[in-house]
């Protein structure tokens, strides 16, 4: 796995690899080394996943779905896979809202957008995740075990759970879910040892 030294668009795949108990090289590219590497990547972007030095995959969600299918974490039926896809696409929509605020150059506008993000947009998405959880009886997002859906929600909630610790108090089932995911032994070990980054 090649990405920058933050969670960003690679973390979902790092979590999948951790959950599956698979060894891999977690290469974190320094900003100053990126321009030289960029033209060598399939689409001029990170993350990329290289497999046994033979295949190079771009596109964070293609990588995540590839790993999920490879390790049996993508859902057992077409419907379950679709339910995982719904969750993944929804987390992408939330990520896009966060990125919009992150990239806003005007400081005053940024503060306004951040307020709206935390007060309206994040709770709207978290409600969707909680409703998905509640409509499934296993305590997992999809089916009866851990899937890409659980890890995608865990990952996208990380930043606002940490920066606004009161927010999750309105979502008790999501809080339980976070604890459930974080206590899976492989995931727990990974979370305890991974680099701590801002985003």
């Amino acid at each position: 796995m090649w990405y920058f030294d933050f969670r960003g668009r690679a973390e979902i795949s790092r979590l999948l690899l951790a959950a599956a108990g698979v060894q891999y090289a977690d290469d974190r590219i320094k900003r100053e080394d990126w321009p030289a590497l960029k033209p060598k990547t399939p689409q001029g972007q990170l993350p990329i996943l290289t497999i046994y030095d033979t295949a190079t995959l771009p596109q964070s969600l293609a990588i995540a779905r590839f790993l999920a299918r490879e390790f049996g974490l993508s859902g057992k039926t077409n419907l379950e896979q679709a339910q995982c896809d719904v969750i993944v696409q929804t987390t992408e929509d939330l990520r896009a809202e966060w990125v919009k605020v992150f990239r806003e150059p005007d400081e005053t506008k940024k503060a306004e957008l951040q307020k709206k993000l935390v007060e309206e947009i994040v709770p709207k998405f978290w409600k969707i995740f909680q409703d998905t959880l509640s409509s499934n009886s296993s305590g997992y997002m999809v089916g009866d075990g851990l899937t890409l859906g659980d890890l995608a929600v865990y990952d996208v909630m990380e930043i606002h759970t940490r920066d606004y610790p009161d927010l999750i108090k309105n979502f008790p089932q999501l809080q339980t879910h976070r604890q459930k995911v974080a206590s899976i032994p492989n995931v727990k070990r990974y979370l305890e040892n991974r680099p701590v980054t801002l985003f």
Partner: protein, 204 residues
């Protein structure tokens, strides 16, 4: 046989790739198109309160990316193994990235900025996207077949649709040779040809 109902607006937008997919699948479906007034009445009952949404066997599947993959898997055009599924996803991902540029144009209210975005699309973003698609296409059968495997897949359908829809808001550069061949191949797929003929008729 489950009953499929695709819900969207009276437009191509994010539903058209799904309509094309049903055509390729040879599967009939209810093509529900809401007016804005009708939409406001049903909105609260739809998960995520957005369209498109698929209703199948009484269940709702929102999110166009989830719906298109569901149909493609159901009817066997999402690739035949994980490597092929992933190749489809790489192409869908590249399309999603390109689409962000079109959406920037769509949402820009300032007319001057809108013109600049359109110019950038025509002079930079579209040529880059086509060049990328050409090189991805050449990885499979030298570019003389389809994007993935040996038959039409969701990747081919998406690329046809995104180029078709973008052509209505910006002037497309010439297709590189293999991509031109692929677009023709998709348009001449018997089921797509039949669907496009009907669509053409409806818009007149």
């Amino acid at each position: 046989m489950p009953a499929y109902k695709l819900m969207y607006f009276e437009a191509k937008g994010r539903a058209e790739v799904i309509r094309l997919s049903f055509a390729v699948a040879g599967q009939s479906f209810e093509d529900k198109r809401y007016s804005i007034e009708e939409w406001y009445k049903v909105k609260q009952a739809i998960p995520q309160h957005q369209l498109p949404c698929l209703q199948v066997d009484g269940r709702f599947i929102p999110q166009s990316g989830a719906i298109m993959r569901y149909i493609a898997r159901e009817f066997g055009f999402y690739g035949d193994n994980n490597n092929e599924n992933t190749r489809v996803d790489v192409i869908l991902g590249a399309s999603d990235d390109f689409l962000k540029n079109v959406m920037s144009w769509y949402y820009e209210k300032d007319e001057t900025k809108k013109e600049e975005i359109k110019k950038d699309l025509e002079e930079t973003k579209l040529p880059q996207f086509f060049s990328l698609l050409e090189s991805i296409l050449k990885e499979n059968d030298g570019g003389d077949g389809y994007f993935v495997g040996k038959k039409i897949s969701l990747a081919d359908i998406m690329i046809y649709d995104i180029t078709d829809q973008t052509s209505s808001i910006a002037k497309l550069p010439a297709f590189p040779p293999k991509l031109a061949g692929l677009i023709d191949r998709v348009k001449n797929n018997s089921k797509i040809k039949e669907y496009l003929a009907k669509r053409e008729k409806l818009s007149q």
